[in-house]
């Protein structure tokens, strides 16, 4: 038997979904073929490691552009200058970006609520088995429930976004101070003065 022809059945055996006939064929093949025997053993060992990947209780991640990373240094320097010149304006810009995302999301949720109302309202006309008034009360109740759920979801995403804004702020500050320490090493005194100024700006923005 060609090894490539037994692959499907090998996989079935691996996951315990093989028919008794297929299991016997693979057993016979593996008794004679060291390569397939080793393959099956290797896959079984691999499968013992896979459950090690658990869904974490709370793991947060941020997007990061690789392009930004490859041009990290100039970006950091630019950010430092920008921040020095514009003060907390730079942070305000970052925040306004998140505010826009937030608004978009809110608009989307509102659309969904409207659509949901419409979709809940539709089937009512087609169901005539129940008394109209009772049905009306139930649909009202459903809409209220779904609005409550939507509101809860909106609140959750609002707080997630404000949290992210805070993270973005910390990230920006970290990048800026990293850029500054680079400049520090390169140009000494001049930059030391900038650092001092930066410290002031950072303090001011933290107070804010």
């Amino acid at each position: 038997m060609e090894c490539t022809n037994v692959r499907d059945e090998l996989i079935e055996v691996l996951y315990g979904e093989a028919s008794p006939d297929a299991a016997r064929r693979i057993e016979a093949h593996c008794a004679a073929c060291a390569a397939c025997r080793e393959e099956l053993d290797g896959l079984r060992r691999l499968r013992q490691d896979l459950p090690a990947w658990k869904v974490p209780e709370a793991g947060r991640t941020l997007f990061r552009s690789p392009q930004l990373m490859s041009r990290w240094l100039p970006a950091a320097v630019a950010a430092a200058l920008f921040l020095t010149l514009g003060g907390v304006g730079g942070l305000a810009l970052a925040e306004s970006r998140f505010r826009r995302l937030l608004d978009e999301r809110e608009a989307r949720h509102r659309q969904e609520i409207t659509a949901l109302k419409a979709s809940v309202a539709e089937p009512v006309s087609s169901v005539s088995t129940e008394d109209d008034a009772a049905m009306f009360v139930r649909v009202q109740d459903l809409i209220r429930q779904s609005e409550l759920r939507q509101a809860a979801a909106l609140n959750a995403s609002l707080s997630a976004f404000s949290e992210r804004t805070e993270q973005q702020r910390r990230y920006d500050l970290a990048r800026v101070s990293a850029g500054l320490s680079y400049l520090d090493g390169k140009t000494g005194q001049n930059v030391a003065r900038t650092t001092e100024l930066m410290g002031y700006v950072l303090q001011a923005s933290q107070k804010k």
Partner: protein, 206 residues
């Protein structure tokens, strides 16, 4: 047949709930959500890698399902249909994400040091620290989309070959081929990091 566990076996089947919903009993949907939301969110998390997106896309999945359930014809299992919606949303989101990479906030120290040194910890470092979980996660994340989906549905969602074929709309043999290739790649990826599996496994043929 879907393998039901514990309380799931007690209540009405998914298909009965769908029928009830289509007959006007919208509360049936609540039961479907309660039955499936954790599994769906888990699958999305493993595909997307972030909890925020998992929550967000899980919510979208059920919203879409709610809107479309009225016209669901029952040609496939309800669960396959639900996974289908979730996977499509993940693919859309992935496409939009293309060109961007992920960084976990856990990789950052207070000074944002991970952004300063451009090296992320290699899988080998993670393994040396005993973090097999992260090594497996990064190996699965490195798989091509088609293989990753099959691996996640089989290894972590415990679907049968048939259920996966139904969900993805591909032949059974394709599912097995993708699974075989995906496992091969995972093994290579992990072995490169010095992971050769844990204890020896007795060769049994059920």
């Amino acid at each position: 047949m879907p393998r039901l566990k514990g309380w799931e076996r007690m209540g009405p089947t998914d298909e009965e709930l769908v029928e009830a919903f289509q007959g006007g009993d919208f509360s049936a949907f609540d039961l479907l959500v309660r039955r499936w939301d954790r599994k769906i969110q888990g699958a999305i998390f493993r595909i997307m890698g972030t909890e925020d997106e998992a929550r967000d896309l899980c919510q979208e999945t059920f919203l879409k399902a709610y809107r479309a359930l009225g016209s669901f014809k029952g040609e496939s299992r309800f669960s396959s249909w639900l996974y289908q919606i979730a996977l499509n949303l993940c693919r859309d989101r992935m496409r939009r994400r293309k060109g961007r990479t992920m960084v976990s906030l856990d990789d950052l120290d207070e000074d944002g040091a991970a952004f300063v040194s451009r090296d992320r910890p290699s899988a080998l470092d993670l393994v040396e620290k005993g973090d097999l979980s992260r090594a497996v996660a990064s190996a699965v994340a490195a798989l091509p989309e088609e293989q990753r989906e099959v691996i996640i549905l089989k290894e972590y969602q415990d679907l049968t070959f048939l259920e996966i074929a139904e969900t993805l709309g591909v032949p059974l043999s394709t599912v097995k081929t993708r699974l075989y290739r995906g496992l091969g790649q995972l093994r290579q990826h992990l072995e490169k990091q010095g992971i050769r599996g844990t204890a020896p496994v007795p060769a049994t043929f059920p």
